[in-house]
Symmetry: D2
Subunit: 377 residues, 4 copies
């Protein structure tokens, strides 16, 4: 009998890229066994997919209600332990809620919920559950992001005085300029994707990242969003001014109309005695700037790296790892938590990240709607 | 007798870096003869410096009043034609004013004046004078900035939908954290450097650059500045939200406390059909992003370059030119204007750049002081 | 019952990095089921490792002889189909030989054999076997290496006139300068690692890569190797001049004493009408140089990418993939071959790469030993 | 009367790029006064050019014989002190010879002579003359090349064990494939450009650079050159193996058929305790690699820079300087020598660089012609 964690999946069947990402991540450290799933709302399709990827079909369920009900009837040491929620956005909350209420640990895709109110509700349920909850802000799994977090915590750059986050993509550009497409794209439909497109999808990654690496909490924001066309209900671009306790300030810029940008996500943190910069598209480099010293470029896998960074590096220096490996690191952290092994706070993002993220999204939209005014978080 | 332009200089003696920059720039295209100068308020020091750099001392004057008076007595074909104003900020306006009133062309260091009101006054004087006026926003002299301007004008990236400018330095960081130093540094003294430090010194470069390359005018701004310490009267960091006619938006970020950044000035312009990005610290690269095509990196000196870009490139591709060459290009453009030769609008920044720049600085400070509110330009 | 490929592994247990790399790669496309293994010469250790990574222990064998014998007794549709050979170098040949002789397909780590004679013998056995044989020159699995190969084949850069390959590492530097360490390191012991250290380990990667991307065969070589110390029997650095049919020439440089280089492997191919360059440490960029056109940087996942490149990209542009993904692509190609599905020649390196590689290593050593003279391949 | 150095120029008139480069360089530090010249073999053209660039025509001579004769008749304190030789290659030797014999200091463009024999002859003359002789290997004037030289001399990377130099251009590619052009291009005519094209023009830059930065002397070489076409008499590509005293080895690669490369000149030096790398196309970066420490990128103008590097930097960090500035630094060094001020050995290349360079070129050609055999230098 395997001592792997019994793992369930909701969604992620067929051509789903997110499904591939999670399956590969789960397999990376020999820790998870895909045990049960609802890959698709259609049960037959779901089973066919299970056969396609070589999974037994006996625990392929018709829906998550059935999954939870039948798994609960199994002895605890056969029952699925953790479930990844990879379904469309509006299903994250009800599924995660029901799973937590029944004691299953959850790995939830982003956004955690559709609203801040739901987020708060889920947080309360989670606190009672004793289960593990992880939110897949995948980028925090990169070794050099972890390194950045630890160096800032250790005071390498001193007190923070400025934070600058950018998340620029261009993918919505061909859609937004086509009147028909911009009406029919689910991302631009508030029913399906919530009140914000750009801030909800990528701005919140930037927000979570900056709080993750700095350890600071944003206290208030002022947002200027852009819809570009009047008949477009959702922001597709925006800049958010940030304030923290103390004198530090920041700015978060996100766009889906930064034409031909791919996934240009970067974070720069300026402290009293140095600065750190990281870019997602070249994730294996971390730049340390110090006054009147040479620029230092840190890479993964070295003895100078922090323990948590090294824990997320599988091969020696010079062998580039990527986004799949970052997700793998998050699964590795969750595995430790599920197994009650010791782990560090930053090994995977959790409920608090989700709650704060939903708050950010709602207040960014509110700040903009109210005429670009300061709004507390 | 030389057919070089007779050139005068006010300031820039001794160890002045700006003096070196202008002298080298003036010599680059064999167009200028340094004919007269006031290098220093002290006449003897001024003459000593003239001897040191191998200039005859007979037209080294005691002050700019004397220079103007005595030069006006010379026949027109012996008289200094253009004067570079390299003195401390508060002297730019009175010197430029008097020079223009007497028909001398002027190459003026930035900032053009101390206030917007002065800028408007100088503009009126210039309009009557018939003289050439250039403002040394040096960065516009880089071949790839010129290339960017021309490509945008030619519609290569289509209608502009987003503009992002960054100017990050860290030089004031060691000063700002020292209570004594931050009281005694001239840059932080409004009497000496005007109402703004960061926006006045580098933010305005970003502002001029974005209007230069896009050909757009900013219509309104919302600024959030940072003084970091209460006893510091001047901004040393800030973010400015930008609006244009139409739906395009922008953001300008500038800082002098971006610790250990050197002169990290960059501009990105996103259009409907492509994007262009340029970075001052690697000035010979211009990046063209187009949907689903390879990233293109344009460099100087190629047949694909625009005429104005090529006019600013002296050597074949692969021979890097730098900031001195950029300033040389501005002097080259001014030389054409002084000699009544044809030249293109972008070959040197002028009075309009100065007027708009001063307006920007004042309104950025006002927007911040009024609680980060939108302010028209 | 799973329709996954039944997969066996020899070696790769415990802390073996190569074991992790192959297991993750095999899991990436849901195509392989780890069915049987000899992880370690010690049977108990082997079984313990199986339990640790959650694999049933019933087909964990005491050695590869037993594995082959017992698997042959199983019905064909239960029998292991393909075996990965991850054991120390000197075991590659005997294990691969026996596997092929019994009709098992083989995924073999590099070097394929200890000698060229063995390589020829293995080639003959393979030809008779009808089985699939793959040699894990992992770097050829990168999407942009595949893109490079296809673009050269399509004539994008025209007839090749110059090839330049570099593989620089520094890892042996701290060993080589320590008289004790250099006597006790297995890599420097011909008994354990063959007649060459640098050429045998990394030079051969460069050699295979250049033949892979160009489609050319090297005709003769002249090698100058460096042992640095007289008591060191093995090359740890070297340069090899290359000749092809026709006027094209090339050079291959490899080093393990390029101090502090990590895994700096790059290949540049210059053709009559353009050039292509790729670097392993930034594997998602392919540079196309064309006369008097902007430099083009190709990235994975775009519609301009070749089919084989796209087949090796799992996520949209801007999500960096790395070395694990490259190995995954090789496993994906092998899966197609094992399942008799159509695939392209470049999807995985095979027997011919191994044979030519062993020939290269032996002749490089011979050319050097004979006084740096031209030697035919 | 000016205290500038009285400077003469031979060649460099009209559209000559090299003429521009030297004039700008000479003007950069206010040290030279262009006093006399032969810009063109035609006297009238020469004088017209003098007028065009604003130089008095009274000391524009009909040829260098006349220049030397008439200048010698002037009192020593009016006489030209140093002459830059910018004429076609075959004239460098006779002109430099005559100048040195008459006590003029010389700044000579590269190649110093047409043959090694001439180089030795010139060296002997120079030794007797007491004059200053500089050879414009311009790239050694870059601040970060100087920094590299000093760091190696100070032992920062320890004993050198490997040297790798690359100089790749593609400019001759469109010529070499056109049978007509390759017969009519002066660079490919031994009468006009000497026995080697690629090694003579750029290989020698690489050779001088590697001896400059390492302080080592190459002891023997083995060259493999490429003519690409049989009717082409001259090398246009080649690789040269290098040996030094001791166990260090090296390789020098140069090409003019590296299609679409611009001026891709780089040098990497690997020592026992670290490595240094520099690239001409991004000349303001110097990379220091040290085992298991972050990569360090050094830039100009910092307090960590060496004195000679700082002496070649005019502006604060972040203001890129380029090739004109590098040449300016060489002129600055020569000015010190001419004025008998103290200067360091590396401030400008001299006679010894020229002699060794000519030796290298001849022996590279010989090594190749003799079947790629080792040849002593």
């Amino acid at each position: 009998m395997s001592n792997k964690i019994r793992w369930g999946v909701l969604g992620g069947g067929g051509d789903s890229l997110i499904g591939v990402l999670h399956r590969v991540a789960a397999s990376m450290f020999d820790a998870y066994q895909l045990t049960g799933a609802v890959f698709n709302p259609d049960h037959e399709t779901s089973k066919a997919f299970a056969r396609q990827i070589g999974i037994p079909t006996d625990r392929i369920y018709s829906d998550h209600h059935e999954m939870i009900r039948l798994e609960m009837q199994l002895p605890e040491d056969e029952r699925i332990q953790v479930v990844s929620v990879l379904t469309p956005n509006f299903l994250h909350f009800p599924m995660a809620k029901q799973l937590l209420e029944n004691g299953f640990s959850v790995i939830c895709e982003k956004p955690m919920t559709m609203t801040y109110a739901e987020a708060l509700e889920l947080e309360a349920i989670h606190q009672k559950s004793g289960a593990v909850f992880a939110l897949t802000h995948t980028y925090t799994g990169y070794p050099m992001v972890r390194q950045m977090k630890q160096m800032i915590a250790q005071g390498v750059i001193g007190e923070i005085q400025k934070v600058d986050v950018q998340y620029y993509q261009g993918w919505i550009n061909p859609i937004i300029h086509d009147p028909q497409l911009r009406k029919t794209t689910w991302r631009l439909d508030p029913e399906k994707s919530g009140i914000s497109c750009c801030m909800g999808d990528i701005g919140v990654h930037g927000y979570q990242m900056l709080e993750f690496v700095t350890g600071l909490e944003v206290k208030s924001i002022l947002a200027d969003l852009n819809h570009l066309y009047e008949d477009n209900q959702m922001d597709i671009d925006g800049t958010v001014l940030l304030r923290f306790d103390g004198a530090a300030k920041g700015v978060l810029r996100a766009s889906q109309i930064a034409t031909a940008e791919e996934n240009n996500f970067s974070v720069a943190v300026y402290g009293k005695s140095g600065s750190l910069k990281w870019e997602q598209e070249n994730p294996n480099y971390l730049y340390l700037l110090t006054e009147d010293k040479p620029l230092q470029t840190l890479k993964p896998g070295h003895s100078y790296n922090d323990k948590m960074s090294l824990d997320g590096t599988k091969l020696p220096p010079g062998h580039p790892e990527g986004i799949f490996d970052a997700m793998g690191n998050i699964y590795k952290g969750v595995a430790k938590a599920v197994r009650n092994q010791p782990y560090e706070a930053g090994e995977f993002p959790g409920m608090r990240d989700g709650v704060r993220g939903m708050h950010f999204i709602e207040e960014a939209v509110a700040s903009h709607a109210n005429g670009n005014v300061w709004t507390d978080l």
